[in-house]
């Protein structure tokens, strides 16, 4: 199924997905998904649980390479470059396309070490530089003021919401171009959630954000574009206001109005 964002609304497309299929063994989890992702916008992926939106997201930075039995076909490009091409290293792909997970997953290290983990493995060893990166990333993730006095304390001492913002800071520190977020606020309380949502609004100035969410309200609050998934298929994509006010597909409308779980 070919669904595209209406031309007049489009900025430059950062990623293009053409006819993506994802299989787990014999089971096909994503069926012929095609999607264009505009640059410097927030794209929300919504749909009932089990519809394949997380599976779709994880294909975009080749996380499925790590799942035994998982197979991805189709063409996925980042700035026109096929990220599944034979000569492309998944490590480089994940460097350019960062990911924030459902549950915060800080490493059992200090706050500082968590943030500079990426820059360090990518070869940055200058302490002063690392400190700059750390501060800039934590500021961008709206966490600096809360942790600046205890950068050497364990990241595990932070609250859940702080941990998640730390994980975002950790992604920002490697300066990706696209940030994938897999229900980043689902494990957090309402106050922490609203902080994350504000943060996402800030992030789109510099990054392209693709976010999976199970909350339609959240999608409505933070995203510019919304894609609706059902049973492994991309049903409809459009500007968020269109999707929520004038859905073209009956199934989208049923979901928006609460007829699916």
């Amino acid at each position: 199924m070919q669904v595209t964002v209406p031309t007049e609304k489009r900025s430059l497309d950062k990623m293009k997905i053409e006819d993506m299929n994802v299989y787990y063994g014999a089971f096909q989890a994503i069926k012929h998904g095609s999607l264009d992702v505009p640059e410097n916008k927030v794209m929300a992926l919504i749909g009932p649980s089990g519809c394949g939106k997380s599976t779709f997201l994880r294909a975009l930075n080749r996380m499925h390479d790590l799942t035994p039995g998982a197979r991805v076909t189709g063409k996925i490009t980042l700035d026109g470059q096929d990220i599944y091409a034979d000569d492309v290293d998944p490590v480089t792909v994940r460097h350019r396309i960062g990911m924030v997970f459902q549950r915060p997953n800080p490493f059992p290290k200090s706050i500082f070490e968590n943030v500079v983990y990426g820059p360090k493995i990518h070869g940055e060893n200058n302490q002063k530089k690392l400190m700059e990166i750390c501060e800039r990333s934590l500021r961008s993730a709206a966490l600096w003021d809360e942790v600046k006095d205890r950068l050497n304390r364990s990241a595990l001492d932070l609250s859940g919401g702080q941990q998640q913002r730390l994980c975002i800071a950790r992604v920002l520190a490697v300066e990706p171009e696209v940030i994938l977020m897999d229900e980043p606020a689902s494990a957090l309380d309402p106050i922490a959630t609203s902080k994350i949502e504000d943060l996402i609004g800030e992030l789109k100035r510099e990054y392209t954000v693709i976010i999976v969410t199970h909350s339609m309200q959240q999608a409505a609050r933070i995203s510019d574009f919304t894609t609706f998934f059902l049973l492994g298929e991309l049903i409809e994509v459009g500007t968020t206001s269109e999707i929520f006010t004038r859905p073209k597909d009956k199934r989208t409308e049923d979901y928006i109005t609460g007829r699916y779980g």
Partner: protein
């Protein structure tokens, strides 16, 4: 716009450059880990082949069943093999019930508390006692204080103490592997806790437990240091060599392998040693295979799943 594209291009190139070096390190490390693991397996294969090469010539019907010789060449190891099995069986008769009961208690009845902690700590401590030290304890208590002398029973009780912790652990792990729903279902049908354990929980644990018991049997069969000063380094003489009296001295095959080399006067030490070592190795291999096959079969039969 053009500028933005250029910036992104240099960054890409830089990332790609560093990625190339890092990928090389990754490949190197992966290769090294594969090589190390394969090395261990190859080493084992080499050992097995070497033992067969050394020992195959010694194996004969006479060697496996004949009586040992004290002074002249041509002795066999029949009574030693018999004693190894005899002590193994005596040990299992004591180890299995105690370890099973304690494992059930810790896993099903007493999940917290000081008593549990103490039992657990005692078990871990017992498991760490060097087998020669356990042998001396057996010497002090069973051989000397209880006046059993060097005997199959003294050896078996010592080995029981040595292997109880491992078997208790096996029991605990087997029970932990049984889904909680089995327990809930049985309790909900009005079963008492004991009925639940005996009828609903244990049958599912029998497979993994059998595997554990057979593997531990292999260890008991080959144990040496703990037996030298408990079961003794000689076999009862003459027709009494195949002897079920638990109070008679009972040198096992593993002890015999050590003793012939260290102390004995016979001229064909190497022949006896190579043959004994091969028999021990083959027994260990058999125990390992049996553990796998029987454990899997029992699991399939008793729970209906593979």
């Amino acid at each position: 716009m053009a500028q933005a594209v250029a910036v992104s291009e240099t960054r890409e190139r830089k990332a790609a450059n560093s990625a190339r070096g890092r990928r090389a390190v990754d490949r190197l490390a992966t290769g090294a880990l594969w090589a190390m693991a394969l090395f261990v397996v190859l080493l084992l294969a080499l050992f097995v082949c070497y033992m067969f090469y050394l020992g195959a010539g010694s194996i004969s019907w006479h060697f496996l069943t004949g009586l040992p010789s004290e002074l002249t060449a041509g002795g066999g190891v029949g009574p030693e093999i018999f004693n190894s099995f005899y002590i193994l069986i005596l040990t299992l008769l004591m180890t299995v019930p105690i370890a099973l009961a304690a494992g059930i208690f810790l896993q099903e009845y007493s999940r917290t508390g000081l008593f549990r902690e103490t039992v657990q700590f005692s078990a871990e401590s017992l498991a760490t006692v060097p087998s020669i030290v356990m042998g001396l304890f057996g010497l002090l208590v069973f051989v000397q204080t209880l006046r059993w002398g060097f005997s199959a029973l003294a050896g078996a009780v010592t080995l029981t103490l040595l292997n109880l912790p491992a078997l208790m652990r096996v029991t605990q792990e087997a029970l932990a592997g049984v889904p909680a729903t089995y327990r809930e279902a049985s309790m909900a049908l009005g079963g008492t806790k004991w009925q639940t354990i005996v009828r609903a929980v244990l049958p599912s644990a029998v497979g993994p437990m059998t595997t554990g018991i057979v593997l531990i049997s292999g260890r008991i069969f080959g144990e040496t240091a703990a037996l030298i000063y408990t079961a003794g380094t000689s076999v009862a003489h003459g027709n009494g060599a195949y002897d079920f009296n638990p109070f008679h001295t009972a040198e096992t095959l593993a002890v015999h392998l050590w003793y012939t080399h260290s102390e004995a006067l016979i001229p064909d030490v190497d022949r006896i040693g190579n043959g004994s070592a091969l028999v021990l190795l083959v027994m260990v291999l058999i125990f390992n295979v049996v553990a796998r096959v029987v454990g899997r079969q029992l699991t399939v039969r008793l729970t209906g799943k593979g």
